[in-house]
Symmetry: C2
C-alpha cells in the first residue's frame, strides 16, 4: 500500500506537508499543494482509513445487527438500501449477529469499546426494549428503524427513529377495497402484541369502523390470527370463510399470509386477498400489496446518523422516562384493540407512507 | 473512552510500559504486568481498534456484498451464520452493496485502498466471473461461497472456495423417493446455465439414469423450467402433469417452486413435492426439503480467511488460466446436460453435504 511517506518522497516535501495538504489544505502554498496532489494522483494514494480514524477519533461507520430468523420478509432489501445510502455518503456498515436483545447489547459494548462504530441502527424494536435503556445510559448515538413502541414520549429527541406507517397502508388498502364495492372485509393478523402488528391491525379496524362497514362487535368475527407462514395463512383463511362465507375480501398483515390465504381459494373465486411488503412471490401471484419505502427510510436513517457525527445527540431530556427500562411495565399489556395513533414527526422522528400496489 | 494514558496514570507506569504489557508482555517484569493488568481491568480499557489496526497493518475485517434481490432464499441466514462465526473469532464483517459484478469490483477497490478489509467473501459466482480476475490481478485475498464455475482448475490454490453439494442433495432426495416406491419423478429447475441450477439438475438426472427410472430420451418429458417465484412453480407443475399425468413425485430446485407446485395439487393428491433450502414456509406446508449446512459453511470460510491473515495466498499458480477473464469463453455455453462432477477437495476447497429433511 502506498504510504504518506511515499507521497512525500515523490513530491520532494515532508510527510507533514502531505498530511497538511490532505487535512488542512488552506495552510499549504498553492504551488506545493499542486506538487503533492500530482504525486497523490500518480501513486494512487488513498489515506489509510485506520490512520484517519485514529486522527479524527471517528470511524464513520454504522453498525446493524442481523437475527437468526428475519422478522421481516424484506430485511435483506432493507440492508441493501442501507448499505447503498451509506456508500453514497462515504459511510461503512458493520454487520453483527444479534441472537437476542441481550446479545445485541454485548455487541454494542464491544464495538463501542473498540471505537469501531459511531452509531447503531436498531430494528425489530419491542415494548420496553432493553437495548434503548443501554444506549441511553451509555450516551451512544443510534437510530431506530421502527418506533419505540410503549415509550411515553414517542418524540423524545434522544430516541431518533424512522418508520413506515403500517396503519396508514392497511387503512388505505381497506378503503380502496370499500371504494371498489367490497362490503365484507376480513383481516388476518399476527398473534401477540408486536407494535408493528398492532399498528397494521388498527389500520384495518379504523377503516372499517370509519366507513361503517362493521360495528365494533362484528370486528372479532372478521378477524383471524396466524403465525407468519403459508400454512397458518391457509388455516386462517379457511377458518374465516367457515365463519363468514359472505366475505368478499381479506386484508392480510403480510404477503406470506396472503399467499397462504390465496392458495386455498377456489380458482374461480371473486374474493380479493391483499398482502404487505410487495414481495416477488406475491407479485407473481397477482396479489395487491403494500410497498415499504425502504430506500427513503435508509436515506433518513443515514441523514440522522450523519447529523449525529457532526453534533452528537443531547443526553436524555427531562427525567428520562421516555425509553425502556426493561422492567416490564404495563405497556406490554396493551391489547390489539388499543388505539395506536400516529405521532407527529420532526426531522429526527420520521414516519413514511407506504405505497399501495394494486394488481 | 479510556486511553492508554489513563491506564498508565492509574498503574503509575509510563504509557510505553502499558503498550508493552499489551503487545509484548514477555519483556515486562511480572510485578509491573500485574499492576497494569489490574488497572486495565479496573478501568475496563480496550485497546482502540483503529490504533491496533494501524500498528498491525491489518484490519481483521472481511467484506461481503448484498445484492438488491437475493439470489438465495437463505442469504440472510447465511449472513447471520457468517457474522456469528466471525464474531467467535474476533473478526468484523463489513457489508457493502453490490448491484452488479462491476459494482462489486468498485467496492473491492475502495475498501482495499483504504485498508478497511483483509479478505472478501464472494457469493453468486458465475461462469467467467470478472470479480475473480480482478482479485487475482490485485493479489487480494478472498474466499468464494460457491464454486468458480467454468474454471479450468476448480482446485487452483489461488481460488479458495466453500460450497454445498447440490448435486448430492438432489440425487439423495431422488433416490429416497425411488426407495419409497416412486417411479415417475419429475424435476422443476431454473432456466439458464447457472452453475448451481445445473448442478442440482444433474443430481436428479444422474439419480434417475443410475436407477434406470428413465431413459436419456425420457428426461426431457419429465423436466420443466421455471423462474424462481410461486406462480412459475404453479405453471410448471400444471404443465408437467398435463404432459405426464402418471407422475408420482416432483423434485424442485427450490422451496419457492415446490410451494408453487404443491399449491396447485388437489388436496387429496398422492404426489410428493420436494424443495431445496428448508425454509419456514416449506416446513409449514409439510414439504420435504434439503437443508444447506450454512453454519459449517461459514466456519470454513472464516477458517480460510484466518489462514490468509497469517499466510497470504500464494500468487496464481502456473500460467493463471484457471480463473475468469471476462472474455466469455466456451464455458458459458455448457448446457444443463453436461456432466458436472464433484471436484476433489482439500482444506481450501471444501464441498459440504446438505441434509435431507423428510416430512
Amino acid at each position: 500500500m502506498v504510504s504518506i511517506k511515499d507521497v512525500a518522497k515523490d513530491a520532494g516535501v515532508s510527510p507533514q506537508t502531505v498530511s497538511n495538504c490532505i487535512n488542512n489544505p488552506s495552510i499549504v502554498k498553492p504551488a506545493t499543494r499542486k506538487l503533492v496532489e500530482a504525486s497523490i494522483e500518480r501513486l494512487n494514494y488513498t489515506p489509510n482509513a485506520s490512520a484517519r480514524r485514529l486522527r479524527t477519533q471517528r470511524s464513520n461507520t454504522i453498525g446493524i445487527g442481523i437475527a437468526p430468523v428475519s422478522y421481516s420478509q424484506v430485511y435483506d432489501r432493507f440492508l441493501h438500501a442501507l448499505v447503498t445510502e451509506a456508500d453514497a455518503n462515504g459511510i461503512r456498515v458493520i454487520l453483527y449477529k444479534t441472537d437476542s436483545q441481550q446479545d445485541e447489547i454485548r455487541q454494542f459494548d464491544a464495538l463501542r469499546a473498540r471505537g469501531d462504530v459511531d452509531s447503531f441502527v436498531l430494528t425489530d424494536t419491542t415494548h420496553d426494549d432493553p437495548r434503548l435503556a443501554w444506549l441511553h445510559e451509555h450516551h451512544q448515538p443510534f437510530v431506530l428503524f421502527g418506533r419505540p413502541w410503549g415509550a411515553d414520549d414517542m418524540n423524545d429527541p434522544a430516541t431518533p427513529w424512522v418508520d413506515v406507517d403500517g396503519h396508514y397502508g392497511i387503512a388505505e388498502m381497506t378503503q380502496h377495497l370499500i371504494l371498489h364495492g367490497r362490503k365484507h372485509i376480513g383481516f388476518i393478523g399476527w398473534p401477540g402484541v408486536s407494535g408493528t402488528g398492532m399498528d397494521r391491525y388498527a389500520g384495518w379496524r379504523d377503516a372499517m369502523l370509519g366507513a361503517r362497514m362493521a360495528g365494533p362487535d362484528e370486528l372479532e368475527q372478521l378477524y383471524e390470527e396466524a403465525k407468519n407462514d403459508i400454512l397458518s395463512g391457509q388455516t386462517a383463511c379457511i377458518a374465516l370463510l367457515d365463519r363468514r362465507p359472505d366475505l368478499d375480501a381479506i386484508v392480510c398483515v403480510s404477503d406470506t399470509l396472503a399467499i397462504g390465504a390465496a392458495t386455498v381459494l377456489p380458482s374461480d373465486t371473486d374474493i380479493i386477498i391483499t398482502g404487505f411488503d410487495d414481495t416477488v412471490s406475491a407479485r407473481s401471484m397477482g396479489l395487491s400489496s403494500i410497498a415499504q419505502p425502504l430506500i427513503e427510510s435508509a436515506r433518513h436513517i443515514v441523514r440522522i446518523t450523519q447529523e449525529q457525527f457532526v453534533a452528537p445527540a443531547a443526553g436524555r431530556a427531562g427525567n428520562g422516562t421516555g425509553g425502556a427500562t426493561g422492567s416490564g411495565g404495563t405497556s406490554v399489556n396493551r391489547k390489539p384493540d388499543a388505539i395506536v395513533s400516529a405521532p407527529p414527526t420532526d426531522d429526527r422522528h420520521v414516519l413514511l407512507k407506504p405505497t399501495l400496489v394494486i394488481r
